[in-house]
């Protein structure tokens, strides 16, 4: 069975590429365009991995991350944060809030894929 990944990002232009890439790699891909939708989709669809953008409308990535980690049922969900802010302080905040990995835009799609595979232990 193919693994399920949720892409939560309001930037359509990056979603297009990541979605295309992950589908080509055989993953099942879901897309959410804001924080609230992302949280709902995680609860409903139980993806193994969430690619979480920090700057999103309605609820930002940090808050989504915190909400996910507060729910024991979802503890198995891996979280990879993607952000346009590359400050060290933010990286540490994301990891501190329970994210499993952190990538700063612009990133190489190959590295993204490698990170996705690492987190899914593939």
């Amino acid at each position: 069975m193919s693994k399920k990944i949720l892409i939560a990002d309001d930037e359509q232009n990056i979603v297009i590429s990541i979605e295309f890439l992950l589908r080509r790699e055989g993953f099942e891909v879901l897309v959410a365009s804001d924080g609230v939708e992302a949280l709902a989709k995680v609860r409903a669809e139980r993806p193994e991995l969430v690619l979480l953008d920090v700057m999103m409308p309605k609820m930002n990535g940090f808050d989504v991350c915190q909400a996910l980690r507060a729910d024991p049922d979802l503890s198995a969900t891996r979280i990879l944060m993607l952000t346009a802010k590359g400050r060290d302080t933010e990286v540490s905040k994301g990891l501190g809030l329970g994210a499993d990995g952190y990538m700063t835009k612009p990133f190489s799609t190959k590295e993204l894929l490698a990170e996705v595979r690492r987190l899914l232990e593939m």
Binding site: E11, N13, I14, I16, S17, I18, F20, L21, R24, L82, T83, A84, K85, G86, T104, K105, P106, F107, S108, T109, K110
Partner: protein
């Protein structure tokens, strides 16, 4: 008469007297012996004769002795009195006494007096010289301070202001709403402007540096301290504090063995610098963070396109669309940042405002200076100069560029005269350097503009283009074949005339000190005395006057104008004034309009009394208030206490009462009359400030007269005032 003759005269007189006595005695004896029997009547006649003779002798002796007394006893006594008077005043001489001995003594005394006068004149001359040189130094200091672009304030250890420049006044006197609160003034406390703790902390920080450095190489030194603080008007100031060292024996605190008597604050407005830094940070941040998103999308899309070349055409188009969008967005963002940055860059060069016509005059002079090499000096003319045009340029660089181009024309094309012109062209200034005759082709001109500016002994690593770019301008070469003219044209942004040029220090009248300075307050110490026992001479005063709608404060009459000035160290500070019109929110009585000439129209839009009294209260801080018939004005002020929230509980002196103390027999104590009696010229009366000035002058004239009456402290002045009849008047 010579002394020996006098001796002869005296001897003759004494001999005559003795002779008379002897003759008389002989006569008595002879008549007694010849007669034997006592013949009463004969004897009586003899006695009478004897008595008469004795009386005659006495009269003669008296006359002679009294003339001697006048000459030899009285005259020296008079001379002694004259001499006593002469020791007090110069230029007086003893009149020649009648007698030779005293004349000799008088001459000797006159010589002494002359010698003493000469000595005094000499001393006075030296004092005057010393004072003149001091005055010159003061003026030099004043000029220097006026020119500084920073604010400078000098205070003694109590925080009393001893000196400040115009910049400081501008920077520190502005209130939060842009009003001018006049917080800075001689003798005022710096703590009305800055937090006391802040200054004290900075003073403490001077100390450790002193210790460290003193320990180092044995040299005595005290460091300085810095702090950043905000003014009431919300500007950010960076302050640099350094100590004022006193000479030996001057009172002051010891910092690392050195006596400190005060401190200098050099203040710089860093609001703009800080804003600029913040703006630049923001710009960089937005560039970096704003770029990441679009770049991420671009990179991902590009990688998809290259990694998966087998994708469907529809998919490929989507990726190409992403690339187009994001590249466009990124370009726009870059343009925005570049524009913001160039604005910022513009401010970083030391560009200064200069009046175009001035720049051209200097340029003409510099280009036409002594011929360089074997050339004769170039002829330079200025034409078509817009005299109102201000430029914001690196004037040194621009002058260098113009000179370089002109001299190179002379060197390589034997141009003998060049013209400079400056015109306005929209928002730009057009500066042309042109000449008639030979000219070069475009390539040569381009290379001139881009070569480092080396001409004669002057060399610069910069090119003309560098300099012009630095001034945010453009320069190019152009020729007009028809007129045989060629020119280098420079377009520069026109600037606004600068608004805050440091105002020149107000020139003091001859013999007067500029009023921004008063070092004498160095020896002043607050808090050491109760105000009441302070000497009148050392107190600071606020001399004030008000104009009102009428004479009945308790029946609703209101203040419409307050004028005040200050007296510090017995000097009237004409430049530290408070002058404010006030909207009374009621009608003016026609009689009052006749007195002060202030009409309703003048008062519309002026602040109301409740807004004016707090700054006026601050202006009066730490001073004794002085007014003419002050009770009247104080009554108005005190009736407004609740409304304005400030209490005028300052000590008050009234020139009307003091006049009654000084001249109890005069019929009138009107201000004009007193001014006339004391020799104060009156002008500008019946404006509040004008009256306050006259009152101040009158008060200053009164101080020495009061001192003569033994009234030297505030307490004595108040008590004497209370005793006068007028004090019983109540308004």
């Amino acid at each position: 008469m010579k002394a020996p003759a006098k001796l002869v005269q005296a001897a003759a007189l004494v001999s005559l007297f003795l002779l008379a006595v002897v003759l008389a005695t002989i006569a008595v004896i002879l008549t007694g012996g010849a007669d034997g029997s006592a013949d009463g009547s004969l004897q009586g006649g003899r006695i009478v004769a004897l008595v008469l003779l004795t009386l005659a002798a006495c009269a003669v002796s008296y006359r002679v002795l009294s003339s001697w007394y006048a000459r030899y006893v009285n005259a020296p006594l008079r001379m002694a009195e004259d001499l006593a008077a002469m020791t007090a005043h110069t230029g007086l001489r003893l009149t020649e006494p009648a007698t030779d001995e005293l004349r000799a003594l008088g001459q000797a005394a006159n010589h002494l007096l002359a010698a003493r006068d000469a000595l005094e004149n000499d001393v006075a001359e030296r004092v005057r010289e010393a004072r003149a040189s001091l005055e010159e130094e003061r003026s030099r200091l004043a000029a220097l301070m006026a020119d500084l672009s920073q604010s400078v304030v000098v205070c003694n250890l109590d925080g009393r202001v001893l000196l400040y420049n115009q910049r400081a006044k501008q920077a520190l006197s502005a209130g939060p709403d842009g009003s001018n609160a006049e917080l800075l003034g001689l003798g005022r406390s710096i703590y009305t402007v800055f937090d006391r703790a802040l200054i004290e902390h900075a003073l403490e920080r001077l100390q450790p540096v002193a210790r460290d450095e003193a320990g180092g190489d044995g040299k005595k030194a005290i460091g300085s301290a810095q702090f950043v603080t905000a003014t009431r008007a919300g500007r950010l100031l960076r302050a640099h504090m350094s100590p004022v060292l006193g000479g030996d024996g001057q009172p002051g605190a010891l910092v690392g063995d050195l006596p400190v008597t005060g401190f200098v604050l050099v203040l710089e407005d860093v609001t703009q610098t800080n804003e600029r830094h913040a703006r630049r940070d923001e710009l960089i941040q937005s560039l970096i963070e704003g770029g990441r998103g679009p770049l991420g999308s671009l990179r991902a899309a590009a990688e998809m396109l290259s990694d998966f070349s087998d994708m469907a055409p529809r998919q490929r188009d989507r990726f190409l669309g992403v690339i187009r969008d994001e590249a466009g967005a990124l370009s726009a963002q870059f343009e925005k940042a570049a524009a913001a940055f160039s604005n910022d860059l513009r401010e970083r060069w030391l560009l200064e405002e200069i009046l175009g016509v001035e720049l051209l005059a200097v340029a003409a002079r510099r280009i036409g200076e002594q011929g360089h090499g074997e050339h004769r000096p170039l002829v330079v003319k200025t034409e078509d100069v817009d005299e109102s045009l201000w430029l914001r340029v690196d004037s040194f660089g621009l002058l260098q560029a113009l000179r370089y181009l002109a001299l190179r024309l002379q060197d390589e094309y034997e141009v003998r005269d060049v013209r400079l012109s400056l015109k306005r062209s929209g928002d730009l200034a057009q500066l042309d350097l042109y000449w008639v005759g030979t000219f070069m082709n475009n390539e040569v001109a381009m290379s001139w503009l881009q070569d480092p500016m080396n001409i004669g002994s002057e060399s610069s690593p910069l090119s003309v283009v560098d300099v012009i770019e630095r001034c945010n301008g453009e320069i190019w070469f152009q020729r007009e074949r028809v007129s045989h003219r060629a020119f280098f044209r420079t377009m520069l942004p026109a600037a606004e005339a600068p608004k805050d040029l440091p105002r020149a220090i107000v020139p003091a009248a001859e013999g007067e000190r500029p009023e921004f300075y008063d070092f004498d307050i160095f020896h002043w110490s607050s808090g050491s005395h109760e105000l009441d026992d302070r000497s009148l001479a050392e107190l600071s005063y606020t001399v004030f006057d008000t104009e009102t709608t009428g004479l009945q404060p308790s029946e609703g009459d209101e203040i419409i104008q307050i004028g005040a000035t200050r007296i510090v160290n017995r000097r009237l500070l004409r430049h530290e004034c408070f002058d404010q019109l006030i909207d009374p929110r009621r009608a003016l009585s026609p009689q009052s309009v006749k007195v002060h000439g202030i009409t309703r129209e003048l008062l519309v839009g002026q602040p109301v009394i409740a807004a004016v009294l707090p700054p006026f209260h601050a202006f009066c801080a730490d001073t004794v208030m002085v007014g003419h018939n002050a009770a009247f004005d104080m009554r108005f002020l005190q009736l407004k206490e609740r409304q304005s929230g400030v209490r005028f509980d300052h000590p008050v002196l009234d020139t009307l009462l003091l006049s009654a103390v000084l001249q109890p027999n005069q019929n009138t104590h009107r201000l004009e009359a007193i001014a006339e009696r004391l020799g104060v010229s009156v002008f500008g009366r019946h404006t509040a400030l004008g009256d306050a000035m006259v009152t101040g002058e009158v008060f200053l004239k009164m101080l020495p007269l009061l001192a003569e009456m033994g009234i030297t402290t505030l307490r004595q002045a108040r008590e004497a005032s209370e005793r006068t009849y007028h004090a019983r008047l109540k308004y």
